[in-house]
């Protein structure tokens, strides 16, 4: 046996045979063909039509929106203008592979140069080009393989489209060589509850057909496992299936202390699924999607309709809505007009909203109207608060427009350091661990080269969370967590030990966190938190919490 380490996504386990995703093909060499142009033309047309037929049949199988996309791709593969381009190049003595490559590339460049939607279609052309060249060379087609039996997919990395269309009945688990915990693959895997390990550099050595264990909780892939290890993994899979089938109960610690478990949502469409998985409310409702594809802000009426739909779905429950958080990685044309050198440190969140106050006023008005028409408990919070003065501004404006409970996101170290004074000026705080980590560690969360610094386990980040927790307890005001940190079952216990009064996460993480919290008492959580706080770095903090947790669970009967 051999262990390959990486970053586990979620807590799942999977066992199965490896199927590797074919790597991208190199650019065909531009050399004179030894066949005549007519013969090369036949080869090219044959491969183009095979690929077109394949795409069309995949489309028919997929149905829905994917059908239209794949049918359009099939048409591109047999496009008359494209075939003209291929023929022109064959006449100069090029090979079919090279002529196909160049013809697709010329359209790809043309579309990429047009920007926007056209540039996205450029990627489609690359994909079709690769498929045709692979067929000409009799090589496996790039893209997700379909071997006809369940398998563990091993890839360098996946395109978002590949991850989104994975057949979850066939793909038992996913291992990528590249990519970090915040990559697209990781985010989608988390959302779809796919057992995954990302950034497993040594996974490149795995061969098709090898049986492996993918252990996301342990951050490792076990190559050539023993029979005993396989039996153990299968027992864990069965245990997790039982856990998922268990009735959903409100979140609480072993001693009965309630810790409400809430959902992070980006649209009212996710409400039913979140409720099914046991969300006790919404801890973070992101409102950006209402604004993202727009050239101007949506009307008060449009917004009110959407908020009413959300609040109706969560009747009688708490719903925390974050007002528009634009800027940095999600700029909006009508809000962020000037280019900035450091967008993460620029006019974003509450700063941008103050700059364009009419947008904030309209949003708060729509929220207050939706609240009045429904029976959910609406709380509204502002992103990127750095000062008490900003807190007062938001609280006063929201109150004036009819919002009953107002709070702030704690994402900047400054807000955490003066949390007592910030909390005195509003009703609650919610800690956004992703941004708090980025600003505490001074490491851009979108930059792969500094991804190693982007861990919420770092004691510096935990210390700031502890400060906010203490301030909340002293003031008798709630302090929630609404970053990815809350979705890590062990870190969730640590966060409660640091003073978090509720946890909000992707709904798919609720079951694991619920089970983890039920294993520890309030005192246990505090002990885990102290162990992590005292460590010197992120990895050591995680280790210390693990060690403290094992000590606690070893001295008592296993959790139900």
């Amino acid at each position: 046996m051999m262990n390959i380490t990486g970053t586990g996504i979620g807590q799942g386990v999977a066992v199965g045979p490896v199927v590797r995703m074919a790597e991208r093909l190199p650019e065909p060499v531009d050399r004179p063909s030894h066949l005549d142009p007519e013969r090369e033309g036949e080869r090219a047309r044959a491969s183009l039509s095979v690929v077109a037929a394949e795409l069309a049949s995949r489309g028919a199988k997929a149905g829905g929106a994917a059908k239209d996309v794949l049918e359009a791709q099939a048409m591109m593969a047999e496009d008359p203008s494209l075939i003209d381009e291929v023929t022109t190049r064959l006449a100069t003595g090029k090979t079919a592979e090279r002529a196909v490559f160049e013809a697709f590339a010329s359209y790809r460049d043309l579309l990429a140069g047009m920007g926007g939607y056209m540039a996205e279609r450029a990627t489609d052309l690359d994909d079709i080009s690769q498929r045709v060249i692979a067929h000409l060379l009799k090589l496996p087609a790039p893209g997700v393989p379909s071997p006809g039996h369940p398998f563990i997919l091993v890839a360098r990395d996946l395109a978002p489209a590949d991850t989104a269309t994975l057949d979850l009945d066939q793909v038992l688990g996913l291992v990528t060589v590249d990519g970090g915990p915040t990559s697209h693959t990781a985010i989608l895997a988390r959302e779809k509850s796919i057992v995954a390990i990302v950034g497993a550099a040594d996974a490149a050595s795995l061969a098709d057909g090898d049986t492996v264990i993918v252990d996301a909780a342990g951050d490792l892939v076990v190559a050539a496992p023993t029979a005993e290890q396989i039996a153990d993994a299968k027992a864990r899979i069965a245990e997790r299936a039982a856990l998922e089938a268990a009735p959903v109960t409100p979140g609480s610690l072993a001693d009965g202390t309630p810790v409400p478990l809430l959902a992070n949502l980006g649209s009212a469409d996710g409400a039913a699924e979140a409720l099914k998985l046991g969300a006790e409310g919404v801890g973070l409702f992101r409102t950006e999607f209402l604004f993202l594809d727009a050239d101007s802000a949506p009307s008060v009426r449009e917004q009110q309709e959407h908020y009413t739909r959300l609040l109706t779905a969560f009747a009688g429950k708490k719903v925390v809505v974050r007002v528009l958080d634009a800027g940095a990685d999600k700029p909006l044309s009508f809000l962020n007009d000037a280019p900035e050198e450091n967008p993460a440190l620029g006019l974003r969140g509450i700063r941008a909203l103050r700059h364009a106050e009419v947008i904030l006023r309209e949003q708060l008005t729509a929220l207050a109207a939706a609240d009045a028409a429904t029976s959910a408990e609406l709380w509204v919070m502002a992103p990127m608060i750095a000062t008490v003065e900003e807190t007062r501004y938001f609280h006063a404006l929201a109150t004036e427009l009819g919002i009953r409970v107002t709070g702030v996101m704690v994402e900047t170290p400054s807000a955490a350091l003066i949390a007592d004074r910030v909390l005195a000026a509003c009703d609650f705080a919610s800690i956004g661990t992703n941004d708090l980590t980025q600003y505490t560690m001074a490491a851009d969360r979108l930059l792969g080269t500094v991804a190693n610094l982007q861990s919420p386990w770092h004691p510096a980040v935990l210390q700031l969370i502890a400060d906010v927790g203490r301030a909340g307890a002293a003031a008798g005001k709630p302090v929630g967590i609404c970053g990815e940190a809350a979705a890590d079952p062990l870190l969730a216990v640590v966060l409660v030990g640091l003073g978090a009064t509720s946890l909000s996460m992707s709904p798919s993480a609720l079951a694991d966190v619920r089970a983890s919290l039920a294993r520890y008492s309030q005192d246990d959580a505090k002990a885990l938190a102290q162990a992590a706080l005292a460590a010197e770095g992120a990895a050591e903090a995680k280790q210390a919490a693990h060690a403290a947790a094992s000590e606690i669970t070893a001295t008592r009967a296993p959790a139900p």
Partner: protein, 88 residues
């Protein structure tokens, strides 16, 4: 040979699904059809790549020329396709 100028009805212009529906209709008509944006060169309307590369947006005027086959019937059908909003 018949021709007509028509305004694009689809909200997102002649891209994606509307472009696919249009080129499919042209290809199945059996006629030779070209499409041009006002002031632009006519391109083969049976080529989805040529059509989307024109960057035709909602509200643009385009000229359709149909040659051969049941010209008037084909032209009527294509004009109706282009003026309908397929993105609703």
């Amino acid at each position: 040979m018949v021709e007509r100028t028509v305004r694009i009805g689809s909200t997102h212009g002649l891209h994606a699904r509307p472009a696919k529906l249009f080129t499919q209709a042209v290809a199945s008509s059996g006629a030779t059809v070209t499409i041009s944006k006002s002031g632009g060169n006519p391109v083969n309307a049976a080529s989805i790549l040529a059509v989307i590369a024109q960057g035709i947006d909602h509200g643009d005027d385009v000229t359709i020329v149909v040659d051969g086959g049941d010209e008037h019937v084909v032209l009527d059908r294509l004009v109706e396709l282009l003026s309908t909003d397929h993105d609703e």
